[in-house]
Symmetry: C2
Subunit: 239 residues, 2 copies
Amino acid sequence: MQKPGGKVYLIGAGPGAADLITVRGARLLAQAEVVLHDALVTPEMLALCPQAVKISVGKRSGQRSAAQSQISQQILECAQHYSLVVRLKGGDPMLFGRADEELTAMEQAGIEYAIVPGITTAVAAAASACQPLTKRGIARSVAFFTSSTAPGETSDTRIPECDTLIQYMGGKEAALTAQRLLASGYQPDLPVVVIENCSRPNERILRLQLKELEDGLSDREGPVLVMIGEAMRSRFGQT
Amino acid sequence: MQKPGGKVYLIGAGPGAADLITVRGARLLAQAEVVLHDALVTPEMLALCPQAVKISVGKRSGQRSAAQSQISQQILECAQHYSLVVRLKGGDPMLFGRADEELTAMEQAGIEYAIVPGITTAVAAAASACQPLTKRGIARSVAFFTSSTAPGETSDTRIPECDTLIQYMGGKEAALTAQRLLASGYQPDLPVVVIENCSRPNERILRLQLKELEDGLSDREGPVLVMIGEAMRSRFGQT
């Protein structure tokens, strides 16, 4: 196969705020001819590439969205027509970003690519809440996990064993996580921090206890991250 | 207590490359009057703040270094004399960054602060190695952990249970991790990716199997990250 001329940059946009992308990512966005972006990428972020053709290949929980194979196909088509293509994903592309499918498609088509990491939501949420994920003598390991609702995968994910637990896309699934943790002996008053719309103007931070999480999170609209563990205990006495 | 005038920004520098800091972090560095930085922060990164007084408060594994309480004290002193203080840490400050001690010290002294997240080494290493940390049907959870060699803490950390395991500062401790995983039934041919000096000009990527990691990593000089799990299996047939 003849090698197409375009190079694809798989870039992490970070949690949402336009200045939480990396300097490298922002520079490439400003040079891109075309940007294929997720629905969760903010308009402020897309303002960094006014010159580019923008294609939403949005996937968002609970909404109809393009199948992953279609997205990969769109990337390949762009690489045939443009020399600098950006595939912009929320957070970091290598953590819950379905990068494997897109990398495999590009490799099979012989397309040159590079990956630019992004701020994954957990560390931005830790910064917003001023709660370190690790803490000397308290928390030395952190698990990042998600519950899958994809066809063909069971949703009864085992909960990882780590000092700090971070559930991505945890809005609907957090109650089940809390139930499982309580059933396996976790303390009912274990601190929990929930972040909605991390780093955005409508960011909300909720502090509660594990036993309260069991009842579920109502009234959540944006992307939600749930952080559980002793490291989440407030230094100011709440929770 | 009278509130001092200075504001302190606790900023994640990311893995090392100067353009893998966030746009927000770079902007604040360019405005800082004083920058207190770790030994692992690169000269290229410090070139982003030519105007600032630079103070190395370096801690580096195996070298003599300032005690954490001294570092916190230096931050407080800087906040009394300067209006814009940056505390620059490698990676992300909230993950294995000892942020808790520094935040507590600032809160007790009534000093205003904000936290700017950074690219944690694991996602930069995943980008360098082109190995997603999560993979559909293969890896849905990722643990970040470290073995402590701090006084008063035992080094016999239990290994977290997750699909992908990432050991930070894993140069010396990785052999022990491999021994424990093999003893608890992990497959000897499980893929391992080791990254040294991630994102820097002298970056090295080593691919091996869990049974080889048991013999230890010789000849490592820079900071080392060890990634273990089925998600590390190469798409090109190695390992």
